[in-house]
Amino acid sequence: MFGTKISLFGNSKSLEKKIDLFHDNIIDVTMIFKKAIKVFLSEQRSESYKKLSGQIKQVEHDADTLRRDIENNLYSRNLIPDLRGDVLQLVENLDKVVNKFDEVTYKFYVERPDIPAEYHIRLTELCSQVAECVENMVIASRAFFRNFNVVRDYAQKVYFIESETDITSGKLRESIFDSELPLANKLQISSFVSVVADIADIAEDCIDELLIFAIKRDI
């Protein structure tokens, strides 16, 4: 019986590590994304961009594997029965963010939009805001597991930064449609701005649910 307990403790530790690793993956993907967009804006679809895009694909794949592992562990070993559903939902939501990063970088790779230099600064700023928004979401999510009292603080940051991304993306779209660019070009760039801003929206949705989970987390 004692041996079983030790093995149970070991299993718990291993699952804990997997959850931490899953969060690390999301942080990694935000960093690579910021770098990839900068590279794309300066070099278009270069070898460096291809490599960064490949890295994001790999992280997305690793995150999927970890997500399945975490879900399997939770159910097969009957862990945290009262909050299992919430953790499952949270992990699924976080995974959606990672998938979106992959989708956006691949879209850049496939469509190769021609973005004039005058929009680069604002687009880079939007990407940084999106990345910051997701980073705060990850901190809030980590806090849910260890220190759920501060979830609200980071959630507030996510809400604030998400509204900033709305402002930045709005201004960017306005200036694009005010320009003399051909309509097809305007629509294409605008769709890119939208998909990038969507990442922050997904992070916000994730936080909405996380706040409810955090309330349930209190004993």
Partner: protein, 349 residues
């Protein structure tokens, strides 16, 4: 004589079986219901510790019941236990939270009335006061433990997965403590009335020995364990949903509080320690684990603002306080009359 004794003892064993079937759910109900612990594990731990508690520390609460009414004829003891068991069955059938202690006290008073023995009102008032004190004390302990645990959890920042592991360990330990306290406190309900007529000889196991009453308590505790194994899983799956929904940690706090209250009402060592230091001690009386659990849950529920509590249950408890002993008294009195006049059995001497 032995054959007759076992025949009469059957009502006590039936009472023990029903106590095991219903009260084990108070110890491990939520843990099993929320799938934190397997039923088999819970049943094994409960049985072992109920037996240890009953044999090692069952005499304290039993003495107080003896003071209330020393049922001095075997047929009388049989009817006292049977009247209590039937009362419990009827109350459970009407879904009213029932206390084995109240049923047995009611039945003993019924025997006192029938046999013309005087009921010691100072003992009775001591017992009745515990019916009120027990849930209140359990509620207070639960509130204090809840506040300590919540503060600790906020500061300790234990990972959710790790916390789950510790909660499981805690539920097993608190469950074992709860089972020990249940055995120690409630064996008096099951076997107390048979104690004056116990025919068993002392048994020496070399390492330890059991006196006549302890052998009787061992048999009663085995009956409780059989109840745990054979029927408690049916009750276990409904417990915890009755008053309010609970997290596993709250369940742990409730079980611990209940166990502590039962322990306080049955520990001779603690009573002697308090009295030797001129401190007020609680009487050693069999109390209801169901009411202790309800008190603990209500305490935490009130602390959380009272939302989510089904208040109708408190009305049912109050109803149970009055109905259980009254019904047991009437049932015992009437049945003793039949036993003596129809079956020509000696129900008191």
């Amino acid at each position: 004589m032995d054959y007759v004794f076992y025949l009469f003892l059957s009502s006590g064993l039936f009472l023990g079986w029903s106590l095991g079937a219903s009260d084990a759910s108070n110890i491990f109900g939520t843990a099993v219901g929320t799938k934190m612990i397997k039923f088999r594990t819970a049943a094994i731990i409960s049985s072992i510790f109920i037996i240890i508690g009953a044999v090692v520390a069952g005499s304290g609460a039993s003495e107080t019941l003896g003071e209330l009414g020393s049922v001095n004829a075997l047929a009388g003891a049989f009817m006292v236990a049977l009247a209590a068991a039937v009362t419990i069955y009827i109350m459970v059938d009407f879904s009213i939270p029932v206390s084995t202690s109240q049923a047995i006290v009611g039945a003993i008073i019924g025997w006192n009335l029938y046999s013309g023995k005087e009921t010691d009102f100072s003992v009775l008032s001591k017992i009745v006061s515990t019916w009120v004190i027990c849930p209140i004390l359990a509620g207070l302990i639960a509130v204090i433990v809840f506040l300590i645990v919540r503060t600790f959890l906020k500061k300790s920042k234990i990972h959710l997965i790790q916390l789950d592991f510790y909660t499981r360990i805690g539920l097993i330990l608190a469950g074992a403590f709860g089972a020990y306290a249940l055995g120690a406190n409630n064996i008096a309900n099951v076997m107390g009335v048979f104690a004056p007529s116990s025919p068993f000889a002392d048994v020496d196991f070399k390492l330890f020995s059991l006196n006549s009453v302890q052998v009787l308590f061992l048999i009663g505790a085995i009956a409780i364990s059989v109840g745990v194994f054979t029927y408690s899983h049916k009750v276990i799956h409904t417990i915890g949903k009755g008053i309010m929904s609970m997290s596993p940690i709250v369940a742990l706090i409730v079980v611990f509080s209940q166990a502590l209250v039962l322990f306080l009402f049955s520990s001779e060592g603690l009573r002697d320690f308090l009295l030797s230091h001129n401190l007020p001690a609680l009487p050693l009386v069999p109390v209801s684990s169901t009411q202790a659990v309800i008190g603990a849950i209500l305490g935490i529920g009130i602390l959380k603002g009272g939302k989510g509590i089904k208040w109708s249950i408190t009305g049912k408890i109050a109803l149970g306080w009055i109905l259980t002993p009254t019904l047991a008294t009437i049932l015992c009195f009437v049945s003793l009359f039949f036993l003596e006049n129809v079956f020509n059995l000696k129900v008191y001497s």
